[in-house]
Amino acid sequence: MGGLVYYSSASGNTLRLIDRLGLPATRLPREADAPLPQVTSPFVLICPTYADGYGRGAVPKQVIRFLNDPAPRALLRGVIASGNRNFGDKFALAGRIIADKCGVPLLYRFELAGTEEETARIRDGLARFWAQQEDKTCLTQA
């Protein structure tokens, strides 16, 4: 199974989801000048959304900084995004932007810290997704 990389702001919503998931995950730092983690194997990104009413600023700057580096970007396999449906059609917009920019699937969207049921859905979904990825790899190598 591949890895998880996530960004969580000071509100801690994404971090609470990660804690409940109980899977190993690498946190992107909040500080703009902090060194970014080295990622060496395929991963799924979990990312919150901070868009204004026009959709600007949806993807946190730290996530953009991380994905601007071609090495980790090449290992990104999918994105899970969070947000708040109160923001209407901008809900979880960061996920759609990253999926589009990086050519990876948007796997799931949840609100705030997610619910227990959503946590289980993400855990199961990730297991299925990585199994599929391995099948693909086998086919390519065969």
């Binding site: 509100s11 999926a99 920019k101």
Partner: protein
């Protein structure tokens, strides 16, 4: 009694936005100011024909619901946000709260724009009288105001504020979303969605400040505040359930509205950093209402929710391309 001669008001620090103690203050300030709007922006008069197609009961319900929302916005404008200012940790936080206070006044004002565009003066006056006398509306306002007046506990005030903004509004917000899902009063729904968007940021910000305050307290006090929060939510929920029955039984929508209340109560708790209370089954909101809340944002392309056989790669959307290097 205060001796004014001996304790003059301290001169506040001039707010320097280039020296931040908490970057969230600036982030939220920017979001709120970019999102600023006025009701004149929404072409409410396009709803006149739609309004005339509602039954008398439906019209009365709509006006009553909006006077109830007006009351909550008025409380938040004149008492809630100002009282939180007294507890602000940073000068920037006070500035953000002054924006929140003003937008609550815009929200309260915008319901009157709906009234003056669509309704007769007499029926609006009757609805304001109704709201001033409605026991459930008055009871929930009283519970919130009691916390705002409990000046000894800044964090309890924040809990009350988050519950007002992230929970209590939704028994009312349900109705314009319901009309919108049936292609009625769609411009009014656009206006309500602007309010809903603002309330999400208010709930997020005040909930965030609550969490910052909470983490400085010893475990016993943290537990006490958590118990207080859940107890207050239960009390408010009891009132909301009665209020909902009173308003929506006639249209047969009560159970539907209650699911929406559970769903939003969970979000209010999450804004405070707490876990959800209501199980997912109790939060299954009518998909038509969810679609009215977030138009063009449907579920089906999520890989994990669907059959797993297909997923969509995002379509181009507005973003700051200059930030991306590729």
């Amino acid at each position: 009694m205060k001796d004014l001669a001996e304790t003059p008001r301290p001169v506040p620090r001039a707010v320097n936005w280039n020296r931040l103690e908490d970057e969230i203050d600036l982030d939220v300030w920017n979001r709120l100011t970019v999102n600023f709007w006025l009701p004149e922006k929404v072409p409410l008069s396009n709803d006149i024909q739609s309004w005339s197609q509602l039954t008398d009961d439906e019209r009365q319900l709509t006006i009553r619901v909006f006077t109830g929302l007006t009351l909550l916005d008025t409380i938040q404008n004149t008492v809630g946000a100002p009282t939180l200012m007294e507890d602000a940790i940073t000068p920037h936080e006070e500035a953000v709260l002054s924006n929140i206070a003003f937008m609550e006044a815009v929200h309260a004002r915008s319901y009157s724009s709906v009234f003056s565009t669509l309704c007769q003066t007499a029926e609006v006056d009757e609805a304001f009288r109704w709201s001033a006398e409605n026991e459930h509306l008055q009871a929930k306002s009283r519970l919130i105001l009691d916390e705002y007046d409990a000046t000894a506990s800044p964090l309890r005030k924040k809990v009350a504020s988050v519950f007002l903004e992230s929970f209590l509004f939704y028994s009312g917000f349900y109705l314009p979303m319901h009309w919108s899902s049936r292609a009625r009063l769609t411009n009014t729904a656009d206006l309500i969605r602007l309010i809903i968007r603002d309330e999400a940021i208010h709930g997020y910000y005040i909930g965030y400040k609550f969490q910052r305050g909470l983490e400085r307290l010893p475990e016993a006090e943290r537990q006490e505040l958590k118990d207080f929060s859940f107890a207050l939510l239960f009390d408010l929920y009891e009132i909301e359930a009665r209020y909902t029955e009173q308003l929506y039984d006639g249209l047969g929508l009560t159970e539907d509205v209650k699911h929406f209340l559970h769903y939003n109560a969970n979000k209010a708790l999450q804004n405070l950093g707490f876990e959800a209370l209501f199980p997912e089954d109790a939060c299954k909101v009518n998909p038509a209402i969810m679609a009215a809340l977030s138009p063009n944002s449907d579920e089906n392309h999520d890989f994990f929710s669907g059959s797993g056989s297909s997923y969509v790669i995002g379509k181009a959307v507005a973003t700051e391309d200059e930030d991306w290097d590729f």
